[in-house]
Symmetry: C2
Subunit: 132 residues, 2 copies
């Protein structure tokens, strides 16, 4: 179960941070670092899954493990699990490495999103409410 106190903060607009620092091109999200609460680097962003209708990012897909793409697994995290840390320039997640390792994952070339239950599965694993 994720404590989503932090997650709720990300939707608030911080007047101290202007748009030039807030915006990132969809072409450049790859490689954004992801840390756990202990500050340990646990992976990096591969891509975002965006809701085409609302324009809201629903999942951050993390690439995780592997070497030169071999054996690499992709783990989608619900957006609500991520908090952007402006000082670190990356996302912080209240998720342990064990939770991540045991979470739903897929291989390069797979498209798990064709399964209408996939999103629900992800939210359930991380103990977050599924809103669709």
């Amino acid at each position: 179960m994720i404590d989503d106190t932090r997650a709720s903060e990300i939707t608030e607009h911080d007047p101290e941070i202007d748009e030039t620092q807030r915006l990132i091109s969809s072409r450049k999200v790859e490689g954004t670092h992801v840390y756990n609460l202990e500050g340990e680097h646990i992976g990096s962003v591969d891509s975002f899954m965006v809701d085409k209708l609302s324009g809201q990012v629903s999942y951050a897909v993390m690439s995780f493990g592997g070497f030169l793409g071999i054996g690499e697994r992709y783990h989608a995290l619900p957006w609500d699990a991520l908090t952007f840390d402006t000082s670190a320039g990356g996302y912080v997640v209240n998720i342990t490495r064990e939770q991540l390792e045991g979470g739903p994952s897929f291989a390069h070339g797979d498209d798990p999103w064709t399964d209408p239950e996939y999103g629900r599965l992800i939210h359930s694993h991380y103990g977050l409410p599924y809103r669709m």
Copy 2:
């Protein structure tokens, strides 16, 4: 001035459309067609500008004109100007070609987002309120 009646609809969740149809990878947004209200194809999506903190797409960057990338211009449209048309599989904007041609644009390699006023300029041109 854009009539944003349509735009307001996109934030509503349509129970008829499941997540498998709603989600698109940030890697695949390029090439999504953009039409005007007359159904005329006016360009295609190059990329999205995403708010790193909230995960909300703020602008769709359209590529427009040019040939093989030469002379191509990029025009960012406020997300509120776009409505996803599921039957067309693309976005509909209540913007004329003339408005688009006269709108803020930049060349390949330029990064206009370093200007903190750029977002405000775009919203102003299309007559949409700027919320930051």
